[in-house]
């Protein structure tokens, strides 16, 4: 029981991070490998606000979200858009965007190392015990999970039930066709990319309330988010949520029962199974 609840708490936040990546890859067509670094930047902001200003990390979100949104807007506008325009095919764009975001990811790690140093950082915020289903959990995890669920819900509503969300879904299905029905594809893609970055940074701030992180850990979260997005099927929010919970459960199970050093191996085992048996994603339909 304890494993299941902890796993679901972790999975909820993974779902949020994966949604950020899903917006960037599914809609803006940029495989953003720097998304983990955006997360770490958000975590640093939470850490800094709490330790230096002694303000709740959730207040930090008021700055983190617009800042990350603006930064990702600029990244898409000035770094990714030239690649999108240059690309001859989708495969070509994928290779270019992977390499460019690798560069971005390393550059961000380098900057964060220079600014904050290479040590691990954590702080204790809301670390009071809460009793749920007969076991004890940290309040910070419960709060972070609730916030993640709230944001996921808002995103889900926004994408499925608003006019803007419909434009986003249209671009994710087919950018060329979306252009034909008077959707400004560039603007929608930029918006989706920026929103995805903001969501990733938010996930980082939430994670920082209960996890110990360091400047170069971003790549691990990028990988987890990628595994979730592929497992759930690209652009499929319901699939991403199920996949995130599955990953959270699998990791918690492996960490408690076998060895905490094998969490990535657990994620990869799931990944291999999906690639071998359902490469189109959990709920995806076979396209060709």
């Amino acid at each position: 029981m304890e494993i299941i609840v902890t796993g679901i708490f972790l999975g909820g936040i993974y779902a949020l991070i994966a949604m950020g990546l899903s917006l960037q890859y599914g809609v803006a067509r940029i495989m953003n490998l720097a998304s983990g670094e955006m997360l770490v930047a958000g975590a640093f902001a939470g850490f800094w606000v709490y330790t230096a200003q002694s303000v709740s990390p959730y207040v930090a979100l008021l700055i983190v979200v617009p800042a990350a949104f603006a930064l990702n807007w600029l990244i898409y506008r000035y770094l990714m858009l030239p690649l999108v325009r240059r690309a001859k095919s989708r495969g070509h764009l994928e290779v270019d965007s992977i390499l460019a975001t690798f560069g971005l990811s390393f550059a961000m790690v380098g900057i964060m190392l220079a600014v904050f140093g290479g040590s691990f950082f954590n702080y204790s915020y809301l670390s009071q015990p809460v009793t749920l289903f007969g076991s004890i959990y940290g309040l910070n995890r419960v709060v972070a999970f609730s916030v993640a669920v709230l944001i996921c819900g808002l995103l889900w509503y926004g994408i499925n039930y608003t006019r803007h969300g419909m434009a986003i879904r249209a671009v994710s299905v087919d950018p060329d066709a979306a252009g034909l029905v008077a959707i400004n594809v560039t603007r929608v893609s930029t918006f989706a990319f920026a929103l995805g970055g903001a969501v990733a940074a938010t996930g980082g701030t939430l994670l920082s309330t209960f996890l110990t992180l360091d400047a170069s850990i971003g790549i691990i979260f990028t990988m987890k988010a990628l595994v979730i997005v592929i497992m759930g099927g690209v652009g499929d929010i319901r699939g991403a949520i199920v996949a995130a919970l599955a990953l959270g459960l699998a990791e918690t199970f492996v960490a408690t029962v076998i060895d905490p050093g094998l969490t990535l191996a657990a994620a990869y085992l799931l990944f291999i199974l999906i690639l071998l048996f359902r490469p189109q994603g959990l709920f995806g339909r076979r396209t060709s």
Binding site: M31, M223, A265, Y268, L276
Partner: protein, 314 residues
């Protein structure tokens, strides 16, 4: 073989023969300190480009294969002779490459990149876990009487082999198939090429080379533990160098390896804490300004002057 190819072959052989005398030069410490990494990265980047050049599949698995090779030598040194261990390393690297390829190369390129990105970390976690729980020790010592010069000669020989194999593949049916796959995979499938099989075959070649390099370099470490052997930075260095040089020619990566290794050794010695940042900028510069590598730039410039010349005469 045409007369021009014969000439190139002779020149290459002469160049290799001359390079083989490098370790016997007097006062060569500085030179060897650069020559070993250059030779190592030449083999790694060239064998990487054999697979990734025509297919445009970015493999980040080099560090995993390299680590597997280094570990094979480190663990097996007491029970097996060194040359046998290198062969074992090549086979292990090839087998892992075949497994990874079989799982991912039937699908689109993104799956492959993501999978290889984590492969080194995955193998590292498994090896660490295995050693913690079953053997009790984390690292192993590598004591041999192999000197820097021996390593250099081995690397040089491997470089010769990798160029030879690359040239042979380029002339073979497999190389022809790869060029078609690179141009348009759908076309390749329709003319009856077993695309997944061809890709897996080349990935095995590139994995086996990286594993042998790991085995060759192992004596240089003296002490090997998972965090050292599976350092992911190696994979990225290889990608940067190969792309910097240009992957559409067999000798392209070499053009990237030599200046980048020299620059890297100089800069990393000056600013050891800024290496990550530098690597980031190197990636960005390559993607935005030299997408076809230095070789591509040279060829473009050459083409342009030739066109201009043609117009003036015509």
């Amino acid at each position: 073989m045409s007369r021009r190819e014969l000439l190139v072959a002779v020149l290459v052989c002469v160049a290799f023969a001359l390079l083989a005398f490098l370790p016997v030069l007097p006062n060569n410490d500085m030179l060897m300190a650069l020559a070993v990494p250059i030779a190592m990265y030449t083999v790694l980047a060239t064998s990487w480009a054999l697979f990734s050049g025509p297919t445009r599949y970015i493999s980040l698995a080099t560090a995993a294969f390299y680590g597997i090779g280094a570990y094979t030598v480190a663990i097996g040194l007491e029970s097996l002779p060194y040359p046998v261990l290198l062969i074992v390393a090549a086979i292990l690297g090839g087998v892992v490459a075949a497994l990874v390829g079989a799982a991912t190369l039937r699908l689109s390129g993104v799956y492959f990149v993501i999978f290889t990105l984590g492969l080194a970390e995955l193998v590292r976690q498994v090896v660490t876990w295995f050693q913690n729980n079953f053997t009790g020790t984390r690292g192993s010592y590598v004591f041999t009487d192999i000197t820097e010069a021996h390593i250099y000669w081995q690397l040089l020989a491997l470089a010769f082999v990798v160029f030879l194999i690359g040239w042979l593949i380029g002339r073979s049916r497999l190389g022809f198939a790869m060029r078609i796959i690179g141009d348009d995979e759908l076309v390749a499938r329709h003319v009856g090429i077993h695309t997944a099989g061809a890709k897996i075959a080349l990935f095995i070649v590139s994995g086996a080379f990286a594993a042998v390099i790991g085995g060759v370099m192992a004596p240089r470490f003296v002490y090997i533990e998972p965090a050292i052997a599976f350092s992911p930075q190696l994979s990225f260095m290889v990608v940067i160098m190969a792309l910097l040089g240009g992957v559409h020619r067999l000798w392209g990566p070499l053009v990237g390896v030599i200046p980048f290794t020299i620059a890297w050794e100089l800069i990393a010695a000056q600013f050891p804490s800024q290496t990550v940042l530098l690597m980031g900028f190197a990636f960005l510069i390559i993607v935005f300004f030299i997408p076809n590598g230095v070789v591509g730039l040279i060829e473009n410039a050459f083409q342009r002057t030739r066109n201009r010349g043609g117009r003036e005469h015509g």
